[in-house]
Point group: D2
């Protein structure tokens, strides 16, 4: 292995995007949610994540169909926010590097996949 000591702005931007997705996922999953509260929960997640360093924008979509299905399955008419309901796009801007990253549930993989969608410099 050849060591490349220098950490570039691109590295930092991509790293920060990863932090934000990992953090929000483990902070907010488990939150009680229903079709009544889903929209305000989306906004609060967006606003909370936006406070963190180098976040340019955040867009949170919670799958209303899954919330509805889950809330109808239990007698108390609510459910917990889970990875399979989430579609979140985060744009990080670090110096001149802009990174678009996303967590979105992949049905085929049964996994909330986090990935980098685009890097612009």
């Amino acid at each position: 292995m050849i060591e490349k000591e220098r950490i570039s702005d691109r590295d930092k931007a991509v790293f920060e995007a990863g932090i934000k997705l990992g953090a929000l996922y483990h902070q907010f999953t488990g939150t009680p949610v229903s079709t009544e509260t889903v929209e305000e929960l989306e906004r609060v997640i967006e606003r909370s994540v936006s406070l963190q360093p180098w976040v340019n924008s955040v867009e949170v979509k919670i799958d209303r169909e899954k919330v509805r299905k889950r809330e109808n399955e239990n007698q108390f008419k609510y459910c917990e926010l889970s990875g399979e309901m989430l579609d979140v796009k985060v744009v990080v801007l670090y110096e001149k590097v802009e990174v678009h990253a996303r967590v979105k549930y992949e049905e085929k993989m049964d996994y909330p996949l986090m990935h980098v969608e685009k890097v612009s410099v």
Copy 2:
């Protein structure tokens, strides 16, 4: 010990109040917050907890002075929601028993004390 098998409605109401406080504390502490977002975070916690069974009302107050102090201490101008910022009152109604419970940081104890304030039947 004499066993008292029968679990009363009062027991159930008080138990449910405990669940709600323990749950919200560990769900929401750690959330990024600033003086800009504190109010909407209060509302979302109230609305989320209200979804849970037998919750009659919830009132969340986050200490703005502590948020301001903490956000000024770091360069990114935000902080994490922590137990010392919280004052939450939950009213549970189970059958005919109403329980008022609260979590509030006690400076002297350096502890976010949860307690039952009132039981009405």
Copy 3:
């Protein structure tokens, strides 16, 4: 409603049991787990909850069949700890009141039901 201001030791014991279940549920769900790590995770949850006030004993069982099933469903061979995998018994002792409480997933209700099993004085 007739107000009963006096909060009894029984009230306090039952309330504390509720706190513990609500807290551990929202603290530990979401933790990465596999059949390889399930046992040590059980022990750490038990030990962590035991630190809290008035906890006499804790017994955590995570459903290995569900962990195995879930870890086989995704390519990375692990899953997240979720409510449907949990069976936790907590015994609280406050003054002379002993409360046995439990959270256990109820398949029929599709809900991780928390309940008081026994109160002894």
Copy 4:
């Protein structure tokens, strides 16, 4: 801005390192801990994070002095795991890229700083 559509292995490795740090921070802070349980908690965090994709190794150190100080400040002799106690090194290996990342509390900044320490290819 010039778009660089191609996401490199280096990008992916660095991104994954960020995810792991963000995730573990928000999953495990808040956990009850004492000087008695700190070591096993370190091991469980290491083992849990190691389950996640492309993690090569994890080393978790929780500051025992801070735990001791905090547990002595409250009457129940335990505290919550918080960012200021954490020093975690994660090594991610994605294809041929190895990334060393770390979260460590920076006293001067009063912030649990996450950063990339080294990238080798």
